[in-house]
Structure formats: structure tokens, C-alpha cells
Symmetry: C2
Subunit: 116 residues, 2 copies
């Protein structure tokens, strides 16, 4: 019998969502999903998130034009985090970078650019 999807939303009603590039595996961004964002992501195959700062649902790319086409949605062992395998239609980060993790924490505690 197939196991049921029973997401465990946190006290704010949110799951953690990690988007990785479907072709390269690069981690592109981390965001959050409420139940509606998860439902819309699964039904439309375009990534939707819950903005904690703006307190509203958003479709990634609705203003930038750079959406995330969702190839596959994985869920973790305790069903409180999802992993989206996506094909981005442009830079994912609002800074214009391909992904949001473009700096490392260096040995002296300052941030350093990473090349990949």
C-alpha cells in the first residue's frame, strides 16, 4: 500500500522548501510553503511559496518573470520539508545570481564569494 502524504506543518503552518536545479542538483533557494502553496505547486507544477515577510502566497516569478518549473517534489522522512527539483527560467536570486547561496562563511567569519 502506498504511503500517504501527511505534511507536518510547523506552528506557523509552514513547511521548509528547498529548490534544487533538476539538471545540476545545485541548491538554488530555500523558502516556505503553507498548505495552499504546496497544493498549487503540485497542481500547477510551478513553484509557489508563502512569503513570511509579506504574509501572502506568491508564485516564484510572478514579478521577476523567472519562474521555477517543478519536475519532481520529494518529501523528507518526517514530512516537514520538501525538495523541489526545478528548471528555472532565469536567475533565481533577487540579486540576479543564478542561486541564492553565492557566499561562504570564511575562516575569519566574514563572507566570501563562491565561484560555482
Amino acid at each position: 500500500m502506498a504511503e500517504a502524504l501527511v505534511p507536518r506543518f510547523d506552528e506557523r503552518g509552514l513547511l521548509t522548501a528547498v529548490a534544487v536545479h533538476a539538471a545540476t542538483g545545485q541548491v538554488l533557494m530555500v523558502a516556505h510553503m503553507n498548505a495552499e502553496a504546496l497544493e498549487r505547486t503540485l497542481s500547477t507544477r510551478q513553484a509557489h511559496f508563502w512569503s513570511r515577510s509579506r504574509r501572502r502566497l506568491w508564485r516564484k516569478g510572478e514579478t521577476s518573470g523567472h519562474g521555477l518549473a517543478v519536475q519532481e517534489v520529494l518529501i523528507d522522512c518526517d514530512q516537514d520539508a520538501v525538495l523541489l527539483k526545478v528548471t528555472p527560467s532565469g536567475p533565481v536570486c533577487h540579486t540576479g545570481a543564478a542561486g541564492c547561496f553565492f557566499r561562504r562563511i570564511g575562516p575569519d567569519g566574514h563572507l566570501e564569494p563562491v565561484s560555482d
Copy 2:
């Protein structure tokens, strides 16, 4: 001038932490870090997290023996999520799986095993 590390902890005092395999890039697990967990991870180069359910700091592997040696810590654009590139010393998931994302959400909404 190097940019400063100024983590943006959420209202619970937490960052999201994503651990990926340093060699393969596979997303292994998602967890949370408070300031102390981040500091200990950076100073010891072993992944430490904050357990929301147990409400305490833990070093990954302290009971299982399967720790995560941290090769690099990246931080995202708005400094509220970190990406750990790690070398695991054994299975990362408490189920015994290599990583926690071993099921996908299938077209009918049930969970299906993934092979990788």
C-alpha cells in the same frame, strides 16, 4: 571590504540549515540552527542543530555515531538560511537511509520511493 556575517534568525531564533553531500551534492537533510548551533558548527566543523521537538542543541551523530564533517558553510542572500557541504560518516537519516529525501509525491498524491 569583506561583507559581514549577520544571520537573520527568525522569530524563534532559528535559521534553516540544509546539508548536502560535499562530494555528490545530494541533499541529505534539512534542520534548524540557533546562534549557538551555528557557532559550534563553525568552530568545531561538526554539524550542530537546534531540535525544535526536544528543545535543545544537538550534535548530529551524538547518539547515532553518524556525524557530519563540515567542509564549507554557505549562506543565502538574505542570511536566513545556510547550506552545509558535509562528509557524512554513515547514513544521515534516522531511518537508516543515506538521506532523508527518499520519497517523492506521486501524481495521485501518495508517496513513492525514489531510487537515488
